[in-house]
Subunit: 384 residues, 2 copies
């Protein structure tokens, strides 16, 4: 698929409305940001073949907690070592940590709903871990998570010039497809994957199965005739999340809507954040003016997904800024393979890098983030 | 006891080193603060006659959660109505809410260890509710609470010009006496009370009983000869908290030590905050330079306690600033009785008022806070 991508400079690339891109590029210069990382677990993430976040499905519960422990301490408590595959491919949280260390940006962690809690001070949003959307069971209490997140967003928006919101949740692109589909967007083949070969048909099968379940549940309740329209749940977005979403989604949407009335928000992630943009569009359109998606080159230029194609359906004014990483010449193979499209994004890696670059007025750049990353990786890589 | 109190102006009074007082009075002008309210529960708070925070001992578990729900929403979820006695005497959280509304200061809530969780987004510091210090059981894991609080403090100190840290924990002056005693300070008859008649001898009996328990426990372990010295636990402050303290104490000390390296901290409370100053003195003396105690007139001029007499023992440089409330002419009897020495302080009421007054450069003053308080009280007071 053709990609309309603007090259801003050697550090940043972008897609979307040129006026909006410029407005945000200018805004973030010399501003003070706050990074908040929202974590969650779901049964969806444990469907075999769905996620690369963890060596086996059960371990996916530990990855988000381990990610935020790593951000705070440089080591993990819920697991031995750090989230890294046996082949030495590390969590994108290493990129996030590199940018956080360079920028000295403050970090808060919010728990949207998990089975494994991190050993860090975390903000509890009163959610539970998500179910399996194949069965139409996404999130038990999306409204409660949203309400807590919103009041949190209102309060922390008084503290910073802008927010960067990242996520760590395994299977998140599948629940992104679920949410987008339930909200009536055309997202098939458009959501990305942490795997080099996007398991597109598996994701679609899971979402279609869940959609049938919630449609028939809804039909038996409402007896309306209008059930076959694609935007079935666009007017009932919490039902969309409850059926086909994950707990991270109402958390990020709530923080964004709470904060976005006062300050800009960088939604730091790939197509998962595009899905949250759709949720925000259904809940409080006006806030879209405050939103920019911050991601990585690997997402924005991905041939197997189309983040811009999703965002354009929601609101073509929303810009996507991406950190223009190039890991091909890095010292370690575990990092070089990011260029093959494995992992791609996560833990807010792209957005926090974009934020660090702009707010430092380019004193921090891609080269410095990658150097710092090599130093961090050197310490945690598996011994040969 | 004679009190050396300086009258700053009609809004503020103070005690302590004049140079330090002036330094902080100047610093806070036009600065941006962040208020964080730390809550906890203990079995100590349920000892009959210890606390006015709740109509009967068991209800004390609900008061801190209700307090912070009230701060966020103006109403409570864990209880019907708001924390108010049958006689119509409200929680000091009403003062806090008045100042927060006027100043638009951001609010975060941290849970140090509770039995009843609030229905607000809260920061979990991984503590458990405290025990009964009469049995020498204060806090199970003070070190873990402290470590989480410290990294939180480090991060949020990047967001504001200063912090205001308040507390809501029933029985907190008794555990303050416990902690001060275990750390070797002379605090008998010096800690305050939410009751108009301070149950001094009950508090002393509880603390003495607990002290004997932890001394004998310690003796059987260490076999040292030096066990009768009054500063027995000054070199092992976490043991002091574990035996005779409460979970709020290591939480507030941790946030303060984490933040205090970068920005000033207003410890918003009465003699409980003096005890935390003692804990900080034992853990990281240098941070004392960043600390000011912010409280109410009712604490600073109390004839039945002596906050200045405690603080002077720790470090005479630490200033105490107090909001110079006068409720005697307010419209409602439930508020007027504050002048009789009931309640006196709590939920950071004094410190947040001092902060709001100074940071607004006196655009907010005692009169405005009291007017707002009357308006809030009007809505929640029991119908006659």
């Amino acid at each position: 698929m053709p990609k309309k991508i603007s090259i801003i400079n050697q550090d940043l690339i972008a897609a979307g409305d040129p006026g909006s891109i410029k407005r945000f590029l200018d805004f973030f210069l010399n501003k003070k940001g706050l990074f908040i990382c929202v974590i969650g677990n779901t049964e969806t993430g444990k469907i075999p073949g769905i996620s690369a976040a963890g060596a086996n499905p059960e371990i996916t519960d530990y990855t988000p907690a381990a990610d935020v422990e790593f951000l705070y301490y440089g080591s993990c408590k819920v697991i031995d070592g750090v989230p890294i595959t046996p082949e030495g491919i590390p969590t994108p949280g290493l990129i996030t940590k590199s940018a956080l260390e360079l920028s000295d940006m403050p970090l808060l962690v919010a728990v949207a709903g998990v089975n494994i809690f991190p050993n860090v001070p975390f903000i509890d949003l009163h959610g539970k871990a998500g179910g399996n959307i194949r069965a139409g069971s996404g999130v038990e209490n999306p409204r409660e998570i949203f309400d807590n997140a919103k009041i949190l967003g209102e309060n922390i928006s008084k503290l910073a010039d802008y927010l960067v919101i990242g996520e760590s949740i395994a299977g998140g692109t599948t629940t992104a497809l679920g949410l987008l589909t339930a909200l009536g967007y055309e997202a098939k083949g458009k959501v990305s994957s942490s795997l080099p070969d996007n398991p597109i048909s598996l994701k679609e099968e899971v979402v279609n199965s869940g959609l049938e379940k919630i449609k028939s549940k809804n039909k038996s309740k409402s007896k309306s005739k209008d059930e076959s329209t694609p935007d079935l749940f666009r007017n009932d977005p919490f039902k969309a999340v409850a059926g086909l979403g994950d707990p991270m989604q109402p958390a990020v949407a709530g923080i964004t809507i709470g904060a976005g009335k006062r300050i800009p928000v960088i939604l730091a992630g790939g197509t998962q954040m595009a899905a949250i943009t759709a949720l925000i569009n259904a809940l409080d359109k006006k806030v879209l003016d405050s939103i920019v998606i911050g991601t990585t080159k690997w997402i924005l230029t991905d041939e197997q997904s189309d983040i811009a194609g999703i965002v354009t359906q929601i609101n073509p004014k929303i810009p996507i800024l991406a950190a223009n990483f190039d890991f091909s010449k890095l010292k370690y193979n575990g990092l070089q393979v990011y260029e093959k499209g494995i992992v791609k994004e996560g833990v807010g890696a792209g957005g926090i890098s974009v934020a660090s670059i702009l707010s430092s007025n380019y004193k921090i750049n891609i080269n410095k983030i990658q150097k710092r990353l090599e130093n961090i990786y050197e310490k945690i890589k598996p011994s040969a």
